[in-house]
């Protein structure tokens, strides 16, 4: 399919990552003929994971990207913890994908443009939002009220967890609802001891195993899709030949493909959504071929934007017409506003005494989670909302030799043995929705595909800084209560974007005057247009958001399919 033709699809899904894969699966399984558009190259599961299983001595520079290449192509992407020579092919080239940020307000836009998107490189932590989160905006007046409550999305969390495969433990915490879990990964001996101490000192601070999208006990459905249980390699961001972690390529796209209803076109950069003024509907999308720059249109009865928060927003801002001069479905003026990320960069580490005679085998695919414990039962006077911690215990390895004195035989022999037990964790805090944190199209600068680039203007404000301070204080107190010594805090506050949970720029809400999407992720202004990636988020909570994007997408797709059948679109 390389030029305009007369095919009218039931739905076009833009983007093949976390959200797009789900939209494709749910819509095709309901019998809709779907066109999935991906701006990047094709990636074939297993075949195109060139570094999967490669030891460092089989890599040209043992996993290091040449310095000049980093400087030339990856000055933003290099700031992501997972960027290396093993994974660079799953990160965009910054030179070809420019954006601007306001001087003094850096924003790290970490991206992967290829089939599967960032579902290949995500950290796989999977947490539900709770009633506390869906009520938050209404309670303290920041942002607008979510148009849904926990009970609206709970069955969809069930649905996506069951298919994706989330391992975790049942904890019965109101601020972090349990889900449909596969067996949890186990705690290390050290972590069990820490947990006991912490939870007896602070009953409201829990140290639980992370909930992660890894198969520990595959279902028949997962096995049928070619997925197998996790081998504890912890090399996930290279792609996993076992399909043990959830990605579009291991799970949703194979499911969509087997319906026979999916057409996938890669290297197709969506420029804009085409709006038909007569029917007041989206009629399709305008696409630019990534290589030839040839422009073409695709037509459909509905459009799902799942291109990622900022990319979907950019497409809508660039979809201008007489009816929508400031961007499609922007009658509220909220398109591009309320940009949020999670806030972090505060780390706490300490030494665990003892346990020298214990070790572990395997590289556990998740660390631990300390769920939010502030502003849960009692208000905290320091700040609104909350934060959690993620981290784990480890025995130091040879790397300790790079910051300690010593040479020769004794030094070498020390480094061959595991070092002392340490524990480290980092905070993930909630960012308030604020209309001043926003993006717009740069009027002067276009990218190589002729699309105006994004200008991002976003910064942390008082409540975010108060949370970061509290993370340091509470984090130290938490690790000391868990029995650690030499507890120290490092604070290297991350620029927005770097926690790679950017969201909020086409928010859901009850009121078309103050929000872009309704309770079904359906554009208030354009009934057959849906946005189901992070752009839809009305508040950020402090939990990793991907699971919520999955659930919102599946829920929206079910509603959209019903509306299409009933002739409402």
């Amino acid at each position: 399919m390389t030029s305009d033709d007369n095919t009218v699809f039931d739905a076009i899904v833009v983007g093949s990552g976390m959200s797009g894969g789900w939209a494709a699966k749910e819509l095709t399984e309901r019998g809709l003929k779907v066109l999935l558009l991906e701006r990047g190259r094709n990636v074939t599961h297993r075949v195109d994971y060139p570094t999967d299983g490669k030891p460092p001595w089989k890599m040209p520079y043992a996993g290091q990207v040449p310095e000049a290449e980093v400087a030339r192509n990856y000055h933003v992407q290099k700031t992501c913890y997972a960027f290396s020579d093993y994974t660079k092919h799953f990160f965009v080239n910054d030179r070809d994908n420019p954006y601007k940020s306001t001087p003094g307000k850096p924003f790290a836009w970490i991206r992967g443009y290829h089939l599967g998107g960032r579902s290949l490189t995500w950290h796989r932590q999977s947490y539900r939002l709770s009633e506390l989160d869906f009520e938050a905006n209404k309670r303290d007046g920041h942002g607008v009220d979510w148009p849904i409550r926990y009970s609206d999305i709970a069955p969809w969390y069930d649905h996506v967890e069951t298919f994706a495969g989330i391992s975790g433990s049942y904890e019965d915490l109101p601020q972090l609802p349990d889900g449909k879990f596969q067996p949890p990964f186990e705690l290390r001996c050290v972590e069990k001891a820490m947990k006991q101490k912490l939870e007896s000192a602070f009953p409201d601070r829990r140290l639980i195993i992370g909930r992660t999208a890894h198969l520990t006990k595959p279902t028949d459905e997962q096995t049928a899709l070619g997925r197998a249980r996790c081998m504890n390699r912890l090399e996930c961001q290279r792609g996993c030949r076992f399909g043990a972690y959830f990605s579009s390529l291991s799970a949703t796209l194979p499911a969509a493909n087997r319906t026979g209803n999916l057409t996938t076109v890669t290297d197709a950069v969506v420029d804009s959504v085409v709006y038909d003024a007569e029917s007041e509907r989206a009629s399709g999308v305008q696409v630019v071929d990534a290589h030839t720059l040839e422009r073409r249109k695709y037509s459909a009865r509905m459009v799902f934007l799942c291109a990622s928060t900022l990319a979907s927003t950019q497409i809508l801002l660039n979809s201008r017409s007489a009816q929508f001069p400031d961007g499609l479905t922007n009658s509220s003026g909220m398109l591009g506003r309320n940009l949020m990320d999670h806030i972090g960069g505060v780390g706490v580490t300490g030494t665990v005494q003892g346990f020298e005679d214990t070790y572990e085998k395997g590289r556990r695919a998740t660390d631990l989670y300390v769920p939010r414990f502030r502003n849960v039962d009692e208000p905290d006077e320091r700040f609104l909302r909350g934060f959690g911690f993620q981290g784990g215990a480890y025995r130091e390895d040879w790397r300790r030799g790079t910051h300690s004195a010593g040479i020769g035989q004794e030094f070498k022999e020390q480094l061959q043995k595991p070092g002392p037990w340490r524990f480290g964790m980092g905070g993930f805090g909630e960012m308030l929705p604020d209309t001043r944190n926003r993006v717009w199209l740069d009027p002067k600068h276009k990218d190589r595909w002729g699309i105006p680039i994004l200008h991002i203007d976003c910064k942390l404000r008082d409540n975010e800084f108060a949370i970061l301070e509290a993370m340091a204080v509470d984090g130290k107190e938490t690790l000391e209560a868990a029995g650690l010594t030499d507890v120290s805090v490092t604070s290297d506050i991350a620029p927005p974007g770097l926690l790679i949970h950017e969201m909020g720029t086409a928010r859901m809400g009850h009121d078309p005057a103050t929000s872009v999407l309704n309770k079904h992720n359906q554009a208030h202004d354009v009934p057959n247009l849906f946005v189901t990636d992070g752009a839809a988020m009305t508040s950020s909570a402090c939990q990793n958001p991907s699971l919520t994007y999955m659930a919102l997408t599946a829920r929206a797709a079910a509603a959209a399919a019903d509306m299409l059948k009933e002739g409402q679109l």
Binding site: G53, P55, P56, W57, P60, Y61, A62, G63, Q64, P66, E67, A68, A71, Y81, A82, F83, S84, F185, E186, L187, R188, C189, E191, M231, N232, R233, L234, Q237, E356, D357, T358, Y359, E360, K361, G362, R363, R364, A365, R395, D397, W398, R399, G401, T402, H403, S404, A405, G406, I407, G408, Q409, F411, K412, E413, L415, Q416, K417, P418, G419
Partner: protein, 192 residues
């Protein structure tokens, strides 16, 4: 021992005698297999100094040392292919600080020093580099390069450490014996 001397010794051990011209051929043949090759970035003296320092940091024990793991060759290759021009210049400029330190200790140069003298130089550089509040020194960077190159090499990861590419089950609380080695793990990314 120079490469040529090593080859001559090997040949003698095998009971042979070999003319000098053929030693050259043997050397080229070895180089072509990648077993041994001339430095690509450093000059022969710099390369020899790097080899010697790496050997002193990670000597041969019951497991391979830095030299038999090819750490000096790997670092020379990194400098040739991976390093930016700035890193290359800095490395060359700062490598001479090792010679300067040797001169201060009364040697005519690091490579000309006795084994004890060389150990003394490297120990001194190491102590300075890791003293409390010490600024980031060249030796610190060099030592990091050596450790990274060694432990991410096949001998380093699989013999000095334990290498476990497909763990399978996760065992969270394994008893550790006195002689048990650590498992190799590179992390997500490693900032050299």
């Amino acid at each position: 021992m120079t490469r040529r001397a090593a080859i001559r010794n090997a040949v003698l051990l095998l009971g042979g005698a070999i003319p000098a011209a053929q030693l050259g051929l043997l050397e080229s043949a070895l180089a072509a297999t990648g077993v041994e090759s001339k430095p690509r970035f450093l000059d022969p003296d710099q390369f020899a100094m790097l080899e010697r320092v790496a050997d002193l940091i990670i000597p041969e024990t019951d497991t391979p040392g830095a030299v038999s793991a090819g750490v000096h060759r790997f670092i020379d290759m990194l400098l040739a292919e991976w390093a930016s021009p700035e890193t290359q210049e800095q490395f060359i400029a700062q490598l001479s600080s090792i010679d300067e330190r040797a001169t201060e200790l009364g040697m005519s140069g690091f490579l000309d020093g006795s084994e004890d003298g060389q150990v003394e130089v490297v120990r001194l550089l190491d102590e300075e580099a890791f003293a409390d509040g010490a600024p980031a020194t060249f030796f610190r960077r060099l030592k990091k390069l050596v450790l990274f190159a060694y432990f991410s090499s096949e001998p380093g990861a699989t013999q000095a450490l334990r290498f476990d590419p497909f763990p399978g089950d996760y065992q969270p609380c394994l008893p550790l014996g006195d002689d048990d080695r650590a498992f190799f793990w590179l992390g997500y990314s490693y900032d050299l």
